[in-house]
Symmetry: C2
Subunit: 440 residues, 2 copies
Amino acid sequence: PEYISQPSAQASPAEPNRNLKYDPKKPHITDSPITRGNWYKHVNWLNVFFILGIPLMGLISTYWTPLRWQTAVWTVIYYFCTGLGITAGYHRLWAHKSYSAALPLRIFLAGVGGGAVEGSIRWWSRDHRAHHRYTDTAKDPYSVRKGLLYSHIGWMIMKQNPKRIGRTDISDLNEDPVVVWQHRHYLKVVLFMGLIFPTLVAGIGWGDWMGGYIYAGILRIFFVQQATFCVNSLAHWLGDQPFDDRNSPRDHVITAFVTLGEGYHNFHHEFPSDYRNAIEWHQYDPTKWSIWVWSKLGLATGLKQFRSNEIEKGRVQQLQKKLDQKRSKLDWGIPLDQLPVIEWEDYVEQAKNGRGLIAVAGVVHDVTDFINEHPGGKALIRSGVGKDATAMFNGGVYLHSNGAHNLLSTMRVGVIRGGCEVEIWKRTQRENKDGIYLKD
Amino acid sequence: PEYISQPSAQASPAEPNRNLKYDPKKPHITDSPITRGNWYKHVNWLNVFFILGIPLMGLISTYWTPLRWQTAVWTVIYYFCTGLGITAGYHRLWAHKSYSAALPLRIFLAGVGGGAVEGSIRWWSRDHRAHHRYTDTAKDPYSVRKGLLYSHIGWMIMKQNPKRIGRTDISDLNEDPVVVWQHRHYLKVVLFMGLIFPTLVAGIGWGDWMGGYIYAGILRIFFVQQATFCVNSLAHWLGDQPFDDRNSPRDHVITAFVTLGEGYHNFHHEFPSDYRNAIEWHQYDPTKWSIWVWSKLGLATGLKQFRSNEIEKGRVQQLQKKLDQKRSKLDWGIPLDQLPVIEWEDYVEQAKNGRGLIAVAGVVHDVTDFINEHPGGKALIRSGVGKDATAMFNGGVYLHSNGAHNLLSTMRVGVIRGGCEVEIWKRTQRENKDGIYLKD
Ligand code: HEM
Ligand code: HEM
Ligand SMILES: [Fe+2]
Ligand SMILES: [Fe+2]
Ligand SMILES: [Fe+2]
Ligand SMILES: [Fe+2]
C-alpha cells in the first residue's frame, strides 16, 4: 500500500525512500474540505485496494479453494508469527525500545513483521511515537477523537496531510541496519513474506499452492491487519482506565485477545517503555510471554520494567480521583464552620421546649424526626435529648456504627460554644443577658 | 431443643415461660474450665440430640424410605417457606423491625418460622439483638471470634452461661400477641409445623406419609437449620467488607444463596433496620423479594430503607480506608519539607560538574542514573540538566504522564531557595559569600 512508501513531511530529505512526488510547498488536498465534488480525491484509493479490495477478492476465491486442515493450521501459525512481528517487533522492540534483540531475532521480526503488511518498521514506528507523544491531539496520526472508524482504518483510507502528524525522533532507528535494510527493500519483503513464503510452505509441504496463497497469504494478511488495527481503535474506546483517565487509552481483555496481548492499553500509554502490557500473571499477553522466552534463550536482553512502586502509585491516584468524584456527589452534612454557634443554655432550653436536640461531640443535632425511627428504640435516643450524649453515643450505652455517625452528621444544626457546658461562659451570659444565637 | 425454652438471665422474672430451674445465684457449669473429667457436663446433650441425633436417625431411615418426586418438590417448597419464616419473620420483621406486617402475615411467619425449629421468636430475637449490639465481643451469643464452628453450632451444643449474653430491650416483642402466643405454645408449634403438618400434606396429598415425615419433616429441618446457622458462621467469615472492616460481618454471594439472601451481612450489620440485605438488583435476596411482594399485596407496610446517600458514604469511607493503607506502603519520594534548601547557583554549578540535576517546579532531582533509560531519549532529558525544566517537562516539549511525575518525585534531592533563579538572593550571596547548602 501507499502508506508503505510515503514518508511524513518531517522525514529529512537525506532519508532513504523519500517520496519524490511530495512537495511540502504545494497545497495538500486535505487543506480543502470534503465536498460532493471532491470527496474521491480525499480517498487514498491505493490503500482502499490493499486493505479492503484484495481481501475481498481473496474472500471470493475461497469459493473455488477448499480449505485443507494442514493449510488451516499453517494459516493460524503464520497469523501468530506475523502478528508477533508487529507487537513484539515493530511495537515493543523498535517503537518503544522496551528490550534489545540479538541480530537473528531482529531479522526474524523484521521479516514476519513485514509479512503483516502494515508498512515498514521505520514508517510504523515514527507514526506510533507521534501517537504516544501527541495522544488524542490533532498531531496524533490515528486519534480516536476523530471517531472509532477513523482510528481503525479511516486514517489510512483517507489521505493525510503529512505536515499534520507530530514530529518525533527516530535517529535510533536510522542506526539499526535491519530497520534501514527493511525500509529500503520493503516492497520485496512484503511480497516475499506476505504472499510467496506462506504459499511456498503450503505448496512444497502438502501440495496446496492455491490454498496457501488464498488462506495463509491474502486472508491471513487481512485478519492480522484488522486485529492489529484494533490497538488504535478498540484499545482507545473499550474498557477501564485504571492508571489515568485524562486520555483515551483503555484496558480490556477482549482487545487483548484480539491483539496478542496489546489490550492493556491504559497501562501501556502510561508506561510505554515496559516490555509488558499485561502486568498480572492471569492476563493474556502472549507478546510478553514470547519476549520472556527469547530472553531465556539469550536472544532478548535488557527487558525494561517499570518499578511496581510507580505502577501502584498510578493506580492509587486514579482510584483516589474516582473516589473523590463519588464523595463530592454525596451529602456530608453542613460543614462545622457554617453552623451557628449556640450557648449551652440555649441548647438545653430548646430541648426542654420540645425540639429533639442532641449534643454529640460539641455539635447539636436535630433528631426530632428520627426518634421514632431509631433502631435502638425511642427510649434510648430520648434519654440523650438536651444532654451531652457524646459518651452514650460512642459506646457508653452503644458503640454506634460508622453508618450511624454519618447519619448523625446530616442532622447538624449548630455548634456549642466551647464544645460543652462551660461555667465561665454561663456567668458572662448571666451578666450580659444578650441574645440567643450568639454568632462568633 | 432446650434452647427453645431457656430464657437468658436478663429476662425479667415476670416474663412468660421463665425457666424455673435456673438460679442465677448458684455457680454455673461454664464458670469451671473444661477438663477430661467434666467435659460431658459442658455439653448440652439435649441440643446435640435435636440438632444432630434426630437428623442422623432421619438419614438412616432414608434407606427404607424411597423418595417420591411429589415429596421432593414439597420438601423444597416447605424448605423455602420455613426458611422465610426465619429470614423474613424472625430476623427482618421481629428482631429488626425493618417493616410492619398485618396479622395474617405475622401468624403465617410465626408458624412456618416455628417449623424451622430454631427456638421461639422471642428467644431468637433477644439473642440476635445482643449479637448486633455486642458483635464480636464476649457478650455476643455467637461470636465468630470463638471460632467458625462455635458460631455455627458450638454455641448451642455447649452449655452457655445465661449471664454472659448481652442485655437487650425486647419490650416491643412482649407487646406483640403473636410473639407471646408462639413463645407460650412453642413446643406445640414446633411439633405441628415442624413434623405433623409436612407429614399430613404428603400423606393426604399423595399417600406418602413416611416420606413426608422423613424428607419434608426431619431432613428438611436439618437443612433449614444448617442453612440459617450459616448467617452466624459463614457470613462472619467469608467475603468482602465494603462498608466497615472493623468487625467480622462479610458479604458473599455463596452465603446469600445458602441463606435466602442473608449473605450481604456486612451491609446488614451496618444498616440493620433496612428491610433489604442485598441492595443491588442483581444480587440474590429472595427474602427481600418476598417482603416486597407482600407489601404490594398490602400485607407488609413501612418497609424501611436507609438513604442511599448514607449507604454510599459508608462505601466511600471504606474504600478510602483501603486506599490509604495501600498508599502508605508506597514510596512517594522524600517529603519536600525534609529536603535541603539549595541556592540556584549551587544547583547550576553542580550540574555543570557532571551531576545529572534537573530543576522542575522549584525542586531539584538527581536523574543521573535515569538519563540512559529516559523513554524520550538521552538528548531531550540532557537538555534540561542545570536549567529550570519546569515548562519543558510539563508540556513545553512534552506533557509527561502522571507516571513520569510520580517517578520524578522519587528522585528529589533538594529544594531551590525561592523556587527559581532569584536576582536579589544572588546579590546577597555575592556579598556574604556563605556556604553551599544553606539550610533554612
Ligand atoms: C444518644 C443516645 C442514644 C443511645 C443511647 C442509642 C442507643 C442505641 C442502641 C442501643 C442501638 C442498638 C440497637 C440494636 O442493635 O438492637 C442503637 C442503634 C442505632 N442508633 Fe442509636 N442511640 C442514641 C442516639 C442515636 C442517634 C442520635 C442516632 C442518629 C443517627 C442514632 C442512630 C442509630 C442507628 C443508625 C442505629 C442502628 C445500628 C447502627 O447503625 O449502629 N442513635 N442506638
Ligand atoms: C527535562 C527535559 C525532558 C524532556 C524534554 C523530556 C521529553 C520527553 C519526551 C519527548 C518523551 C516522549 C517519548 C515518546 O513517547 O516517544 C518523554 C517520555 C518520558 N519521559 Fe521525559 N523528558 C524530560 C525529562 C524527563 C525526566 C526528568 C524524567 C524523569 C522522571 C522523564 C521521564 C519520562 C518518562 C517516564 C517518559 C515515558 C512517557 C511518559 O511516561 O510520559 N522525562 N520525555
Ligand atoms: Fe495507543
Ligand atoms: Fe505503544
Ligand atoms: Fe451477624
Ligand atoms: Fe441481623
